[in-house]
Symmetry: none
Subunit: 242 residues, 2 copies
């Protein structure tokens, strides 16, 4: 059934309250999602977690734990990071509805998709956001912008459920998307090529490569496009070494 | 402000968990709602309620308690009852989005509107539903239809917030976007750099540059990002000509 087969993963990074992990499991199961991944979580299998998971203890029991974010999303072709805050980096946040539409379309084309949520207190770290293709922000009142973690998951999961249920146009891209691992290898390759030049990071903050990542994350490269870019980098490298 | 003035009331009937009352207060404040009415609630002003209310203790403190549903909605011009289940009464359930659109329209016309949620275990009683104009049902997976009470309020409040906000312009980026002319100059620059290498177009159709264009068009570069990419190209060119 569509309900369980949709490969959209919920990733919680550095969650500190077991109750939130349980509540997230329930929110997911209500909306037909089952893949829960936890990055360096608190000790979460306690009474509070199972109480809040209620009938979703299967989702909680099947949760996969990772030491850091990278391994939780390395096989994903599309990754959304969530944030309540405005960042000073040029991410254009998408809203949950757009996030869900994209997530479902890309998942239905056979790619793995993840939506990542940071810790209750600090949200996602900038290094974590740098791994994400898009930033998704849930609209809130200006007066009180901080949603409970499980509530945020509930809203995203609800939108994903609606998008999956709804009429969905045929996916427009037939080529599989580049995975996070593919992208990481490309960034290493690009750094190597630039190393051979006098290119310098003139940005005050020294975060030039993170800006470059953001460009390519936003572009959501597919495998063929990745090969083209890698081919260019190889050609440039050959020339430098000639 | 629209945020606080929208007269849409959340009514919880026979709630049994203080934590849920607190979580509802937070969910409401996040979405700009402030009128919380409680019908025959549990003793709710405890540690758990205030912990889950987090920064929304003002909403919790201002909650109005009623002995039965009627007095909580007597001044309302439009009342939605919520239910997860199919009832044997001839209600045609509306979905949260339609509920929100109607609620906001009617509230903006100066009427009071209420959305009523039943107890955690049994939901709204038939006598309570009979007082409501419409039944609203949140779509869920068939596998697990029972949403946590505060989660249900969060979804309805989120839809009300979106409906009240109305059409909203896409989020803006502070840096101006690269123009078509800027992009064209970058593509020429990139071609020049590749010219100096043995990079060849291996695509059958010879449309490699059009694929590259598609990548950067999709990324919607801004001026600063364009300068970074042009800087890299210049550095590569200098190296080639050295």
């Amino acid at each position: 059934m569509m309900d369980t087969a949709l490969p959209v993963r919920i990733v919680l990074s550095h969650t500190s309250h077991p109750g939130n992990v349980g509540a997230v499991a329930r929110a997911m199961k209500n909306m037909g999602l089952s893949e829960l991944h936890l990055v360096n979580p608190c000790e979460y299998r306690d009474y509070e977690a199972y109480a809040r998971a209620s009938g979703a203890d299967d989702v909680l029991n099947a949760a996969v734990v990772h030491p850091q974010l990278h391994s939780a999303i390395s096989d994903c072709g599309l990754v959304f990071g969530t944030s309540a805050r405005q960042r000073h980096i040029p991410f254009v946040p998408v809203e949950p509805r757009d996030c869900a539409a994209q997530a479902v379309q890309v998942a239905k084309a056979g790619n793995r998709v993840a939506v990542v949520f940071g810790s209750e207190r600090t949200g996602l770290q900038n290094e974590e956001l740098a791994l994400c293709h898009h930033l998704v922000t849930i609209p809130t009142s200006d007066v009180y912008t901080s949603l409970n973690l499980a509530m945020a998951v509930q809203i995203i999961a609800y939108e994903i459920f609606l998008a999956a249920r709804g009429e969905c146009a045929a996916p427009e891209r037939d080529e599989p998307l580049a995975t996070i691992d593919d992208l990481e290898r490309m960034y290493v390759h690009l750094s190597d090529v630039l190393e051979g030049t006098h290119f310098r990071d003139h940005s005050q903050s020294g975060n030039l490569m993170s800006r470059v990542r953001r460009i390519f994350n936003r572009a959501q490269l597919d495998q063929r496009e990745l090969r083209i870019l890698r081919g260019m980098l190889t050609a440039l490298q050959d020339k430098q070494q000639a």
